[in-house]
Amino acid sequence: MYNHFKTEILKIRSYKTFWIIHILYFAIILLVISGVKLLLNFLAEQGEKIENIDPGAIPVFQFPDIWHNLTWIAGIFRIVPAIFIIISITNEISYNTLRQNIIDGLSRKDFLRSKLSLILFISVLSTLYLFILGLVMGLINTGHIETKYIFLYIPFLAGHFLEIFIYLLIALFTGLWISRAGLAMILLLLYSYVIEPIVTFRIDSALISGFFPIKAINNLIRFPFTKYALREVQDHLTWQDTGIAVFYAFLFIWLTYLILRRRDL
């Protein structure tokens, strides 16, 4: 696997698109997080209230809430690295390099392994970034730091890792299946932001809708902010959510392999 990963690094190291997309991804997260922080400060100065609470007193970016809030906000932008994965796999098809890699001596499984290593790398990078960002923001914003609270909600980082990893797997599958970058991106956007949300919205059983792939990864990190209006929020990863998500990880790896194995390149 490590050897395949090094091949993949050679492919992306001097690929401008890789750098642009990922710098954009990390920059957007930073910007939005700081934006939310500035907005809350601004509202507090103006004496505005959100549902009768002083915005300055909401501990959005304080330990331990920060891990939940940060990972939820970052999840909005998972489409950015997903677009890179689609570009990466459709490039391999349109440049005929997928075929050439096989001719040169990779098996189809090896090729899948090398793309999985790339996805793993990006997911780890994103998780690491949020860890550092969360730590820094938490240390700045938390007034009185109690060590036992710093890492209380840290499992959400694992949730973020799973969320990105699986979403990128879905992107890989879509890109390989559709073969064309533009079409694959449209399909992925349409499915994850229109089709599945409508379908799951119409299903009134949360149990059943939880079995749809996008809903399954969304369920890992539930919407956190309602807790500041004193509503109950699931503030931990459940075994059931994690189990369904992991099932989808395996399913999409298997489906991707199936396409790779059957297709004439």
Partner: protein, 300 residues
């Protein structure tokens, strides 16, 4: 002689057409084997199957007498159809990827690049290359890991005459080094110049397999003309030892039976009172052989 590859009833069917039909192909070690055939005869499909990028409908193949596909491909240098590289990477980076896939060190990248004359541009991005340079990089990539077999599909596509001559020299050098080269081409002249063996595919079937030297040995072709071509034509048609007469640009191409020598033919003309103004002995070439094979009624 050992076979470097043998296929057993290899078949590829697409919806309505059979691209390759129960092909039994054996290619001996240390040969330069030319695969000939008109467009759409199944050359690339066959190569695609033995390189594992096209799934056969049925049948099997084995390289080096074993079935370890992945490891075998690492010992083969190959280009299939057009060169395939990452356009945003330099020649060197592209070759590093190939070396990595084949589990080989980077140390002969410079050597193969200079062999194909790309040293001066080795750090430029692939997308800035001309078609000929892309083709050269593909050859360099095929040679990169000192393969024991080369599979080249139309290797001279897009090359200028000088480039074609260089590729020919490279192939000859490989043959001297006792490597096996499998060359698919529709340039018959190329095949005749470099190949030791050849096979002809048509409609996905191997319709002929032979030795390139033998093609030019069997029968001779004589080109002849005189002042009175009408009389000449009559006399040529009466000549019992000929296999065919064709007029071309005011000259006649006469195919002679293998048993007849050119001097026999010359004596016959003299006896008939014909004194040719032009008499040229031609070696029969692969092109004629190829067209003959394709035109035989059972192959049409």
């Amino acid at each position: 002689m050992k076979n470097i590859i043998s296929t057993d009833q290899l078949t590829k069917r697409y919806r309505n057409i059979t691209a390759v039909n129960h092909l039994d192909l054996e290619i001996p070690e240390h040969s330069v084997f030319g695969i000939l055939g008109p467009n759409g005869s199944g050359k690339t499909t066959t190569l695609g199957m033995i390189l594992d990028v096209i799934n056969p409908t049925s049948g099997t193949y084995s390289w080096f007498g074993n079935r370890n596909k992945k490891e075998n491909r690492k010992r083969i240098g190959s280009i299939l159809e057009s060169p395939a590289f990452y356009p945003y990477l330099s020649a060197v980076s592209n070759l590093k990827i190939v070396a990595r896939i084949k589990n080989r060190p980077y140390n002969n990248i410079d050597e193969v690049l200079s062999l194909v004359g790309l040293s001066g541009r080795k750090n430029d991005k692939y997308k800035t290359y001309s078609l000929g340079m892309k083709q050269r990089l593909a050859i360099a990539s095929a040679l990169l890991c000192d393969p024991s077999v080369l599979v080249l599909d139309e290797p001279t596509n897009g090359l200028d005459p000088q480039g074609i001559a260089e590729i020919r020299d490279i192939i000859k050098k490989l043959a001297d080094e006792k490597k096996t080269v499998i060359l698919a081409s529709h340039l018959l002249d190329e095949v005749q110049k470099v190949c030791t063996h050849f096979g002809v595919l048509n409609h996905g079937e191997l319709i002929y397999k032979g030795n390139v030297e033998e093609v030019s040995r069997d029968e001779h072709l004589v080109e002849v003309s005189t002042d009175d071509n009408n009389a000449l034509l009559k006399i040529l048609n009466d000549f019992p030892e000929q296999l065919g007469v064709k007029e071309e640009n005011g000259k006649f191409n006469v195919m002679l039976k293998p048993s007849v020598s050119v001097s026999d033919f010359s004596r016959y003309l003299y006896e008939q009172g014909i004194f040719p103004t032009h008499l040229l002995t031609k070696r029969k070439n692969l092109e004629q052989q190829f067209l003959e094979i394709l035109n035989q009624p059972e192959n049409v």
